[in-house]
Subunit: 416 residues, 2 copies
């Protein structure tokens, strides 16, 4: 089983982007045989001394052992290595799970000559199955030696579970004194029994950024990107977004970023957020069994937070998602989702658009509504739904995909 049963996403890119070398970052992947045969499942990233880390981790109350480990390492905020395994999430594995993570971090620390709290660990795959770190901890020394600055495609592939394509993005930021680079890789919500959806995102830059500044930028970026996407409303025990800044661009004359609001800080943050936006959309575009990519724009809500909650109520509604799958202009389901969101709304001020076509106006079907026109619009691969609540200035955009037979097949039809 595994990928063999899954059709590639219709949004899979024809060509993968080629990511530039980032000074101070080297990557290597190998087949450790953690769960699947004939595929890479272990990634090691070696980071030069002086690298700082920032992170955004799952809010799950049943967070995995590696998430708890990363949370602790982030308190210090330095970074010398990242180890990611796929095939086993090391979640809900009790004390044995914590020991497996510690063993992994200690082996990585030895391999790069650092302390364990300079190491970040992620695991993705089956839940509740003990992870035997002795299966791969001894491989980390070799990986550290063979790590190369240009093996980005290998890195993106090694963290995939049931993703149908690797996800990579890169940006160059022109700062006063010198350019800096940002590379990112992600794995998304391609879930196959018995795996859970886990989103893992790793971002690397040679910019010299203060750790606190980087952390702030990552949080605000995640808020508008990774925290605005949903496949099926479920939340992984392992979701992890980490950013590593080596500072090596300073040697080329790039300025140190000590203030997010400076011109250089703002330029860097804009590029970082843009890259996060691209990776977030790749995750959605590889959602399980999807046939359509959906953008939901909410405006006129009581607040931005209310707009976001309304957007998620629409995006997570199985009735809305199945109607989109069927190219059915069933905007009554959007009305329903707005109604159930629990946020302030006034039926008689509500307006709804599908693409540029207004379907509802001030609490009623729009007088110009023609079902056939909307149905034709919905046949497209990308569907945008606009909602004006009509009572305030709050707005938000949420991205999702449709709910198809493919989702059921992937999650119900194939036993582990």
């Amino acid at each position: 089983m595994g990928n063999s049963v899954v059709e590639p996403s219709p949004f899979a890119p024809k060509d993968l982007p080629v990511l530039p070398v980032i000074q101070g970052v080297r990557v290597a992947a190998c087949q450790a045989g953690i769960r699947y045969a004939n595929r890479t499942d272990l990634l090691m990233v070696v980071l030069d001394p002086g690298t700082v880390a920032a992170g955004v981790l799952t809010q799950s109350k049943t967070s995995s052992a590696p998430v708890l480990w990363c949370r602790k390492s982030l308190e210090k905020g330095g970074a010398r290595a990242l180890v990611v395994n796929s095939g086993n999430a090391n979640a809900f594995t009790g004390k044995k799970g914590a020991e497996a993570t510690r063993m992994t971090a200690e082996a990585a620390a030895r391999a790069v000559g650092a302390t364990p709290d300079d190491v970040y660990v992620s695991s993705t795959g089956v839940i509740g199955e003990p992870l035997d770190a002795s299966k791969f901890a001894h491989l980390l020394g070799d990986l550290a030696v063979k790590a190369a600055p240009d093996a980005w495609h290998d890195a993106a592939r090694a963290i995939m579970t049931t993703d149908t394509f690797p996800k990579l993005a890169t940006r160059t930021v022109k700062l006063k004194g010198g350019d800096v680079l940002i590379n990112g890789i992600a794995k998304g919500a391609g879930m196959i029994a018995p795996d859970l959806a886990t989103m893992l995102v790793y971002i690397f830059t040679d910019a010299a950024v203060d750790q606190g500044v980087l952390q702030g930028m990552l949080v605000s970026g995640a808020d508008k990107t990774f925290n605005c996407i949903t496949i099926d409303s479920d939340t992984s025990t392992s979701d992890t977004v980490l950013a590593f800044a080596t500072g090596t661009a300073a040697a080329r004359g790039a300025p140190r970023i000590t203030d997010a609001n400076s011109a250089d800080g703002a330029a860097f943050a804009a590029a970082l957020h843009d890259l996060m936006h691209e990776l977030a959309l790749w995750v959605v575009k590889d959602g399980e069994g999807l046939s359509k990519f959906v953008t939901i724009n909410v405006k006129g809500a009581e607040s931005d937070a209310a707009a976001r909650r309304i957007g998620f109520a629409i995006a997570n509604s199985p009735l809305v998602k199945t109607a989109i799958a069927g190219s059915d202009p069933n905007w009554g389901r959007v009305v329903m989702a707005v109604g159930k969101a629990g946020e302030a709304a006034d039926r008689d001020r509500l307006s709804i658009w599908y693409g540029d076509i207004q379907v509802a106006k001030n609490g009623e079907r729009a007088p110009t509504y023609v079902e056939k026109t909307v149905a034709a619009y919905m046949e497209g691969r990308e569907v945008a739904i606009g909602v004006d609540i009509g009572i305030g200035a709050g707005k938000a955009t949420v991205w999702t995909c449709d709910l198809t037979h493919g989702y059921i097949s992937v999650n119900a039809d194939y036993r582990s």
Copy 2:
């Protein structure tokens, strides 16, 4: 299209219960041709003078016109007639919708010699389509005349949209002085494009109950029954639970119930709640495309409210629901759902059971866990999942069904 494409629920009863006559209640249904041909779509219930009403209505912010009307009639709390149409929800229809409801209520009031605020109206079916009440308002006079005390099956059928079977239940309560009867009919969450899930429940009793006491009993009953079921997490604009008490049993010597905590009050409330429980489970057992009925018992949470939210997080998780559809003992998805519920939880105290089989204990896979045994249990039509959060005394039970290809077919494959 319509029912023809839908398989009957595997839980459809072989025989419908025969409901007794309740003095003061007469019912009649007819084909008004509101949307579908060759099926009854209009129900009128005539209630004797002196009947009191209680109600629980959807919390949706985009409530339908009939829901708003019922809310107003409940302020007075008397009842002389109930009119229900299927085929059109009269929701999101603006001022025209309010006028259609008023026209319906006025026609019903004329037919029974009452005032419009003694009339209750429900509409279920397509959203956003103007409802032309002139199509059926003139039929209400005839219906009032031909209304009969024993046409309960007709009544239960007339309110169906895409339900695959009528839902009826009855109870007899032994009180000091004389028995009282309770009948109930319901329609559930069988949704076909372009219809929305709407739950409508009507309960009739000949008990003499004070309106405020009946309202309190209905609210507390709904809290443990209709508010504890979920098919797909979506909330209708039209959900309505109404109870009507004619008081005619008093003539047979049955006592007036003026206190929910008296012996008679408690006996009546227990029977009422039991009937509501039965109807709620029938609604779940006719969930769209379901193959399995699922009970989720949560205990050990911080509070009952927390337990219920955790229960709903599990019940609404597409990953949990699809795993159940596939008879996959993927209890890691239950861990995930507990984690995302946002309630206090401690991974290392969490225990999970499938039926009587413990699968997770104190934050780890149970030492006795054998996947094959659990998979065999899950092949059954009814699956019970037990969760002990392990941190408090809060408990709740939530009922749901699995998520199958049938749900996608019903909601995505067939265009309106």
